[in-house]
């Protein structure tokens, strides 16, 4: 049977409604879109959990050793894989601001990388970094200035280089209403903070290496903690993604579509067996059914891509490309399953069963 004749037959089967492509398209488009949206929204839930975990500072590890942290080694951790920022911090005497001289301001000296750990925005140039609550109280913004009173001396004009958010959401106390004073001093600090993602045990090993000799005392030994423990110690986003229950949905789509494709072709078993009896080759029938499948496969892929693009543009995940790739798994599974089921349906039809098919009509 010539290629042109096969395409002609497939086309006529589609336009005449013989292949039932319309109803199959409706069923499989609905299945594909339903499955892809279910999976994408499950992934969205994981992304939201990660965002919540990270924005709460649960991704920050704190190595504390009173006057026992080497700030240079601490900052050096920032170049380790997965580490986004690292910086040292130590308590400094409280300061006073000229506009509220009656209130002492908890003050910390920090190494230059520390501002990035607390997401001070923007933290550029020289100057102090204020917590959001303090900045709001003082009604200053980054780039503005305050007059700091220190050690009983006169007010010194100081530039505000940045502001950081530090809500009371379970994170370590002491920094919600505070001022950070960057310093290049290489003397010992009290703690080293590291922001890392994804979490890694190697970073913890690195963190412990920032301790100077004889760091800590028997009363307060060095300790490694999490800035915010309220959301749990670990969040393995990769495992959550790989083990999400909806990861099987593309496979479910494949199996459902295979069943639909098989059933729809088997409904035509008399027609197929009869055609084979009239010399239509087996291979031509398989090829014909695959061609007919395009009539529903194209809508499934197109609508799937549109649904994926819609979800990607709505910001479910940061990476649109990954979202699209994930979104297309279910439609591709549905198409592959549908075609496989259809082919299996054709192959399962027996010419010698023509009499039985006639009786089953």
């Amino acid at each position: 049977m010539r290629w042109r004749a096969i395409t002609r037959e497939a086309w006529r089967n589609v336009v005449s409604g013989t292949s039932r492509a319309g109803i199959v398209a409706v069923v499989l488009v609905t299945a594909a879109v339903g499955l892809l949206l279910t999976d994408l929204f499950a992934v969205r839930g994981i992304v939201d959990r990660v965002d919540e975990f990270r924005s709460a500072g649960a991704d920050v590890l704190v190595f504390s050793a009173a006057s026992g942290v080497d700030p240079v080694r601490c900052e050096g951790i920032a170049s380790a894989p997965g580490v986004h920022a690292a910086g040292a911090v130590r308590r400094d005497p409280d300061r006073y601001i000229s506009t509220m001289p009656g209130s002492s301001i908890p003050t910390y000296e920090v190494s230059p990388g520390f501002a990035a750990v607390v997401h001070a925005a923007p933290a550029e140039g020289v100057g102090v970094v204020l917590s959001r609550e303090l900045a709001t109280t003082l009604q200053v913004v980054p780039g503005g200035g305050v007059h700091v009173l220190a050690d009983g001396s006169g007010p010194a004009p100081t530039r505000v280089a940045g502001v950081y958010d530090y809500p009371a959401d379970g994170r370590m106390s002491g920094f919600g209403f505070a001022m950070l004073v960057p310093t290049l001093d290489r003397g010992p600090f009290d703690a080293c903070w590291v922001r890392q993602w994804p979490q890694s045990a190697e970073t913890e090993v690195l963190l412990r290496s920032v301790a100077v000799a004889d760091a800590g005392t028997d009363a307060t030994p060095p300790e490694l903690t999490q800035l915010n423990t309220s959301l749990g110690r670990q969040l393995d986003a990769r495992a959550l993604f790989l083990e999400r229950p909806t990861r099987w949905l593309p496979l479910v789509g494949l199996l459902v579509a295979a069943a639909v494709g098989f059933a729809v072709v088997r409904l035509r078993r008399l027609e197929i067996a009869s055609a084979r009896h009239l010399r239509v080759p087996h291979g031509a029938q398989v090829l014909g059914v695959v061609l007919e499948s395009c009539a529903w496969a194209v809508p499934v892929l197109l609508v799937g891509a549109l649904a994926g693009a819609w979800v990607a543009s709505s910001g479910v995940a940061a990476d649109r490309g990954s979202t699209m790739a994930l979104a297309m798994l279910a439609p591709i599974g549905v198409v592959l399953g549908g075609i496989a089921g259809s082919v299996l349906g054709v192959v399962s039809v027996r010419e010698r069963a023509l009499l039985r098919y006639l009786k089953e009509r």
């Binding site: 049977m1 010539r2 042109r4 004749a5 002609r8 037959e9 006529r12 089967n13 005449s16 409604g17 013989t18 008399l270 027609e271 009869s274 055609a275 009896h277 009239l278 010399r279 239509v280 080759p281 031509a284 010419e351 010698r352 069963a353 023509l354 009499l355 006639l358 009509r361």
Partner: protein
């Protein structure tokens, strides 16, 4: 193609024999009327000759591997496909170009007085028209052995005579034709007769 039938018999699942001891040779150029009362195994014998059923006894040997086409008593087509498409399909299947296949299919439809229905869907045909279409389609496959089950059961006398004539022409062209029939006129139009009543157990 000739078909050698030797001591053929059949029964289903150890039940009573439908027929047994049937021996005959079917030769090209002959039209065999397969007769017998209902339930005597006419359709079963056709299925055995088609190779779809293994006989319980005896053998069927064909002289070559020519094509066998079986035309069922009850017409079956693709509801929404045109009449012409049904007849063109066996021609296309053998590699005939679509245009040539349609032209040849149209001539076959004229032989069965269906030319004016060529672009109608199968579902629009009457029972008699559908029966003739099945014959036209079966002939389009150019079989060496044509097995026809009750071809004139749904036809009026005039149309049945046309069908009988076409079947006769086919036989003269070298096809072995076996027609299972209850119809006396069709039986008389055949060149030979196989009466299963003669082989009843």
């Amino acid at each position: 193609m000739s078909v050698r039938i030797d001591a053929l018999g059949h029964r289903f699942d150890g039940g009573p024999w439908l027929f047994r001891g049937l021996t005959s040779t079917l030769e090209p150029g002959h039209v065999y009327a397969l007769t017998g009362p209902s339930g005597s195994g006419k359709s079963t014998l056709l299925a055995i000759l088609a190779g779809w059923i293994q006989p319980a006894a005896g053998t069927v040997e064909r002289s070559d591997s020519g094509w066998v086409t079986w035309v069922a008593q009850h017409p079956h087509g693709v509801a929404h496909r045109a009449v012409l498409d049904h007849v063109a399909l066996p021609l296309l299947a053998r590699g005939v170009q679509p245009r040539a296949a349609e032209a040849k299919a149209q001539r076959l439809l004229e032989r069965f007085r269906l030319a004016e229905r060529s672009h109608h869907p199968f579902s629009a045909l009457s029972g008699g028209e559908a029966q003739r279409l099945m014959l036209a389609r079966g002939i389009a496959a150019e079989p060496s052995l044509l097995l026809v089950d009750e071809p004139t059961a749904q036809l009026d006398r005039r149309t049945a005579a046309t069908v009988d004539a076409v079947i006769g022409e086919l036989a003269r062209e070298g096809t072995v034709v076996v027609v299972a029939t209850h119809d006396a006129q069709t039986r008389d139009a055949c060149t030979d007769r196989l009466d299963l009543e003669d082989y009843a157990a």
